[in-house]
């Protein structure tokens, strides 16, 4: 639709170029920052860990020296090949990689002149803390150090109302209430700010906000995906994540329980629910799909997701061949695969429409005590009715023939009229068989015929009908069963799939980890649990860095390493490497506490700066990688909803449980090809106004409002969402019935407030963006109110207002 607002690939590169250039003047080329990215991008594909054309390998200094020859550059084949005019000799060969620019060639020459020093890729070296002066927030220390070096000033503090709104949105995903604002504005001291930070970190809504971020990685959804796209019950896992985050479960434990909770000694129900993390894979169960292939795809997805989430590594490349850039071999990949290859079958052949069905380990998650009592009561009633029905059956059976004859019309059989069936049974396929001659029936249709007979016959109906109703109720509150992980007791062999093809198994491999990284902890078991322990080992250089970087990106919009998903050789160098390492160590040394790190960040003055950009900042650092001012960016999809409902005074803060179904365009789900189409029961009452995290996510046709604001179908692990700005977003905020209803409700509230139009407008504005309007803004609102002669126009304008959908 429009490209103007897009961060085109070219624009994305700008900040990188900018930073590299800024660093350049100060020092000779640094291998990690300047040289390895070049070698990796232009050379390693053919002369790297995966392939060594002409027996040349450039990723290891010893092997590369013969070509580099830094002691005598006249004889350096490497320098010759990158500078020659001879197109046949020139490297990289045309079409294989982007040609080297003059600057890049000169950089490589300078590096050779300096003796071609190598350094291990920074991300594979264990992080250490650099010294930070006492009483200085580490974030401020490193951010200012860089700003001073670049000669950019930092910004003054944000005004208190804007700051509280920012903090509240970042920590709990909801704007502050009017009362909270008033209290903070009465005392916006540093001590009061710290109290706000602590209050919000302790809020039960903290987990709801931060769970969304994790659920993107976990590719959590409420359906299988693909054709049929049947709903699945995974929400207890979503609730587990919210609770774990609220409890500030140490990140190492949080990881171990999700990856291998089932392998812990005497696992609790919660620890088993946690393992649903890896049962969240989408599953292609369509007719014609091949069982083994589907199972293999799900396991491959588990390896890839694990790599992205904990290691910031694209492991999937190594499914087919040794990784072209990173030190990950195909052998490593299948050793990791082996830890996921121990699970029982998950797919069976006899599903819908010639398709398949998901099977495999599940556990029942107990409901609330109230639900448990209701179930017990219903079960007692059910038993009673069943006994009565049993004794009445002979009467109905005696008249079966006559009853069946009533379905014969002029010469033919007709289908059973639907009103003779209980609602829920109408969907049972094959019921139309009853209306057919007995000769056409099969053995399997007999129970169905009897079911309808008892439901319909006057002797049995008084029992059969209420019984059906009780069964329906029991079904509705049945304790949910969640898919979890479990290993078979007998070890399964794992083969290297040649070229990634599961039909071409090669060598057998056992359990293992990536050889080029740290070793497996000595006492770690050789299974998924061992893998999990290895991932969160203090010796792992990646996990803590990758994790704090992702939290940083959630708050500042961009990671210290911009490529949050990739810390390998093709990654972008960190803007503040010492800060990243400092926080990574800080996380590990403080019991892997997420709230500890987030508190460090939001307590910094860097975080508390104003988000107004100066002309100098826009010119020097347009992407604000140096953080000379606080970032501004649009709220993520779920928070767009939460924020609007809060402003409108509609939000329900009810937590947990089954997914909710906000209004969406009619029959949207019917657009998924499926044999058994689930209904979309639009939520009524409180559920209609709950937070976005609870909105049902059917992968094949996810909620269009959320998709329009960059949520994804969660078909795979999502490490970062795009940030787009489109006309469809404008249309959604103006015309989606959810937002129209919110605007009407907001308008009614404004109308009901005491005071004159002006004081109402001020209050409405403040509800939307926390601060008070300036004279122009107030005038615009009053103008809208006057010409529209309704508060609706004002309410809509405020819900569509840039500042209302943006964290400022």
């Amino acid at each position: 639709m429009s490209t103007m607002h897009l961060r085109s690939p070219l624009l994305r590169l700008l900040p990188v170029v900018f930073l590299v250039q800024m660093g350049e003047a100060a020092s000779p080329p640094d291998f990690t920052r300047d040289i390895r990215p070049l070698l990796s991008d232009r050379c390693f594909k053919c002369h790297g860990p995966g392939e060594q054309k002409g027996d040349l390998r450039l990723d290891q200094r010893d092997a590369a020296l013969v070509a580099l020859n830094p002691t005598d550059l006249v004889k350096s084949e490497f320098l010759h090949r990158i500078t020659t005019q001879d197109q046949d000799d020139l490297m990289p060969p045309q079409g294989k990689a982007k040609p080297l620019t003059h600057d890049e060639t000169e950089k490589l020459r300078a590096w050779l002149e300096a003796g071609a020093p190598y350094a291990q890729h920074w991300a594979y070296v264990k992080p250490v803390r650099s010294l930070v002066p006492q009483d200085v927030n580490a974030v401020d220390h490193f951010i200012r150090e860089r700003l001073e070096k670049e000669g950019l000033p930092s910004s003054p503090p944000a005004e208190p109302a804007v700051l509280l709104r920012r903090l509240s949105l970042d920590l709990i995903g909801l704007p502050p209430t009017e009362t909270e604002l008033d209290a903070f504005l009465a005392d916006p001291s540093p001590a009061a700010y710290q109290r706000e930070v602590e209050r919000l970190l302790a809020s039960p809504h903290f987990g709801e906000k931060w769970a969304r971020h994790w659920l993107d990685l976990a590719r959590y959804a409420d359906s299988n995906g693909y054709q049929h796209d049947k709903l699945r019950t995974m929400w207890p896992y979503r609730d587990w994540v919210i609770r774990a985050l609220n409890a500030d479960m140490p990140f190492d434990q949080f990881s171990i329980e999700q990856l291998a909770g089932d392998l812990l000694p005497n696992p609790t129900t919660e620890q088993l629910v946690a393992t649903a993390f890896h049962r969240n894979t989408p599953s292609n169960l369509a007719g014609g799909s091949i069982r083994e292939e589907v199972e293999v795809q799900m396991k491959l997805d588990r390896v890839s997701t694990t790599g992205l989430t904990w290691l910031g590594a694209t492991l999937e490349c190594a499914a087919c061949h040794d990784h072209k850039f990173d030190p990950i071999t195909q052998h490593d990949f299948y050793e990791l695969y082996a830890s996921f290859n121990q699970t029982p079958p998950e797919v069976t052949e006899n599903g819908l429409g010639g398709g398949k069905e998901l099977i495999g380990p599940e556990i029942e998650v107990p409901g609330s005590p109230a639900e448990a009592k209701l179930v017990a009561d219903l079960r007692a009633k059910k038993k009673e009715l069943e006994q009565k029905l049993e004794s009445a059956k002979p009467l109905a059976l005696a008249e079966r023939e006559a009853w069946e004859k009533s379905f014969i019309t002029d010469g033919g059989y007709k289908r059973i009229p639907w009103d003779k069936l209980p609602t829920f049974a109408r969907k049972v396929r094959g019921l139309d068989l009853i209306g057919q001659p007995a000769s056409k029936r099969t053995e399997r249709s007999e129970p169905k015929v009897l079911y309808v007979l008892f439901y319909d016959h006057p002797a049995t109906a008084p029992f059969a009908k209420p019984l059906a109703e009780i069964e329906r109720q029991l079904e509705a509150i049945r304790p949910p069963r969640v898919m979890v992980m479990r290993d078979l007791s007998v070890k399964q062999d794992t083969f290297i799939f040649q070229r990634g093809n599961y039909l071409a198994p090669g060598k057998v491999v056992g359990f293992g980890v990536i050889d080029a990284l740290h070793p497996l902890p000595a006492d770690a078991p050789r299974n998924r649990l061992g893998l999990a322990q290895w991932l969160v080992s203090r010796d792992n250089p990646l996990t803590a860095r990758v994790t704090v970087n992702r939290w940083w990106a959630e708050i500042f919009g961009t990671g210290i390493v911009r490529t949050v998903e990739d810390f390998g050789l093709q990654s972008e160098a960190p803007s503040h490497p010492e800060l990243l390492d400092w926080m990574a160590v800080d996380l590990m040394e403080n019991g892997w506490s997420m709230k500890h790190v987030i508190k460090l960040i939001v307590m910094s003055e860097t975080y508390r700066q104003s988000s107004r950009a100066t002309a100098a900042a826009l010119a020097r650092d347009p992407a604000n990688r140096l953080l000379s001012h606080a970032p501004r960016f649009r709220l993520p999809a779920e928070l767009i909803r939460d924020n609007a409902l809060t402003i409108a005074g509609q939000l329900s803060r009810k937590m947990f449980g089954r997914p909710i179904y906000p209004p969406q365009p009619d029959k949207l789900w019917d657009e998924i090809i499926s044999v058994e189409q689930p209904e979309y029961p639009v939520s009524r009452g409180e559920d209609r106004y709950r937070r976005g995290i609870y909105v049902v996510l059917r992968r094949g046709n996810a909620n269009p409002t959320l998709l329009n604001f960059d949520a994804t179908e969660r078909g795979l692990c999502v490490t970062k969402r795009s940030h787009t700005n489109t006309p469809l977003q404008a249309l959604t905020l103006m015309n989606d019935p959810v937002f129209v209803e919110a605007a009407r409700h907001f308008a009614d509230e404004i109308e009901s407030w005491p005071g004159d139009a002006s004081s109402k407008a001020v209050r409405a504005f403040r509800r939307a963006v926390s601060r008070v309007p300036n004279a122009t803004e107030l005038h615009l609102l009053l103008d809208l109110h006057a010409t529209g002669s309704s508060w609706f126009d004002v309410a809509q304008a405020l819900l569509n207002f840039d500042e209302a959908v943006t964290k400022s």
């Binding site: 490209t3 079409g95 995906g225 990654s571 107004r612 826009l618 501004r632 490490t719 809208l784 126009d793």
Partner: protein, 471 residues
């Protein structure tokens, strides 16, 4: 980010259009191709393009190549017998087994046009433009079930999460008309894979295909609530933008300017989309060309004409889906019906594009996600066998391409006597993608997007340009 929005209406001119509604004159200019925007900001062109637009007519389910394009008289000889084991060994089947019995085609075939291209009697209109088609009889794909194969045909992968062809084009070439999406989808019955086949995958989400639906709200949330008049909507939009200009003053955030432009565009789309979809100014002879009897009906023929209108307005990629080609049984009752739904409309589209000089730079693709087996499939319901059909087949099938520099009148590739395997000039779906991209001025190896540490392509790590297909 980029603040050079192509239409920065000033406050007054915007208010005017808001208050008076968009008049017909304004509309006409809005619908005109925005030439200023034609030089897309991030064009990834690697060489001069032959084609600028794509219309992909997808026959959902998989049309039977041996009943339509690739006659196999030898099948009559083997009627009722299984294929030799040497042919079927190691091959994949969806529902039937390798021992299923051969069934021949009852249809007559004829040579058409100056080229003598072969068509079955079921597609007389498409045969009438034989010399415009390039027929590829040797296509192969990797995935044997519908959803996966459709994903493969449009994203180059059978798994969820990759960008669709149209999304790649939107990303690589940008749009020619800032008032319309670059990638539009229309459906007559939905494809099995659903919305994920026009998803932008990991590309920024504005590259996703926008589905225009039948009915009175072609785009979700396009219509204002009943009590909001056009004038009132204009006033609210202007109110929002006036507030946003204040925010821009305050924060100097360029993203705010982009949002202002998006609200202006949204407001204009509310008028331009219904106008685009209205056929009331199309002359009768054009409606007749496509075989449109009732313009209010959401038929494939109507969507073909809309596709032409969209391409005319600068839309990059128009994707049409039509259900009804998955003939597991009753193929000889249902295939003729399926053909009748698309035959005249498809030929009409080709003729119409040609007479307007648009076929030269528009690629029209006609085909399904795979083909069908030479062996019969027999379903049984309630114990009675139904008349036969054919099962999914991935080892050889046929698709047609017209325009955009593909060689008209060429029949490429050949299959064995049974129509089971390719014996000459195989064309994998990856190759088809590479060749189509080539015509669009894009080297398929260079059109990449870095995501999660990997440079992704539409053609994965495969694909080659099949130059003999090109004129």
């Amino acid at each position: 980010m980029n603040t050079s929005a192509p239409f920065h209406l000033n406050r007054r001119s915007f208010l005017r259009s808001g208050v008076m509604g968009i008049g017909s004159l304004a509309l006409a200019s809005l619908l005109k191709r925005d030439l200023a925007a034609a030089s897309a900001p991030h064009s990834a062109l690697t060489h001069p393009p032959r084609a600028k637009h794509v219309i992909f007519l997808h026959m959902v389910g998989g049309p039977s190549q041996m009943d339509l394009f690739d006659p196999k008289p030898a099948l009559a000889k083997y009627e009722g017998l299984p294929l030799p084991e040497s042919i079927t060994q190691g091959r994949r089947f969806a529902f039937i087994g390798p021992d299923a019995k051969v069934i021949s085609s009852p249809y007559g075939f004829g040579a058409h046009g100056g080229s003598g291209m072969i068509f079955s009697e079921l597609l007389p209109h498409m045969a009438g433009v034989a010399d415009d088609w390039c027929m590829i009889r040797s296509l192969k794909t990797d995935v044997i079930n519908h959803g996966g194969a459709q994903l493969f045909m449009h994203t180059g992968s059978g798994l969820f999460g990759r960008p669709s062809f149209g999304s790649w084009l939107s990303y690589g070439l940008g749009t020619e008309n800032e008032n319309l999406p670059a990638f539009i989808v229309m459906t007559n019955g939905l494809p099995t894979a659903g919305a994920p086949i026009w998803s932008a995958g990991f590309l920024p989400s504005q590259h996703q295909g926008l589905r225009f639906r039948g009915g009175n709200e072609p785009v979700f949330y396009l219509n204002d609530p009943a009590d909001i008049t056009r004038e009132r909507r204009g006033r609210i939009v202007e109110g929002v933008n006036a507030l946003n200009r204040e925010v821009h003053e305050r924060y100097q955030d360029p993203e705010v300017l982009a949002r202002i432009a998006q609200y202006e565009m949204a407001f204009k789309m509310q008028a331009s989309v219904p106008e685009l979809l209205s056929l009331k100014n199309e002359p009768q002879h054009i409606l007749d060309l496509y075989g449109i009897e009732d313009t209010s009906k959401d038929t494939f023929a109507r969507n073909c004409l809309l596709a032409r209108r969209m391409v005319e307005q600068g839309v990059r990629f128009v994707q049409l889906y039509i259900q009804g080609w998955d003939h597991h049984d009753r193929i000889y009752e249902d295939l003729p019906k399926a053909c009748r739904q698309v035959d005249q409309a498809t030929a009409g589209l080709i003729r119409d594009l040609k007479q307007r000089g648009m076929l030269d730079d528009t690629l029209v693709i006609w085909g399904g996600e795979f083909g069908r087996t030479p062996m019969a499939q027999v379903l049984s319901a309630s114990g009675d066998a139904t008349p036969p059909g054919r099962d999914h087949h991935i080892d050889s099938f046929t698709a047609l391409v017209a325009g955009g520099g593909f060689k008209g009148g060429l029949t490429y590739g050949s299959t064995d006597d049974y129509g089971f395997g390719v014996i000459e000039n195989p064309v994998h779906v990856h190759d088809l993608h590479a060749t189509l991209l080539h015509q669009l001025g894009l080297n398929h190896e260079h059109l990449t997007y870095r995501y999660q540490g990997r440079d992704f392509r539409l053609t994965d790590v495969h694909g080659k340009v099949i130059t003999p297909l090109l004129g």
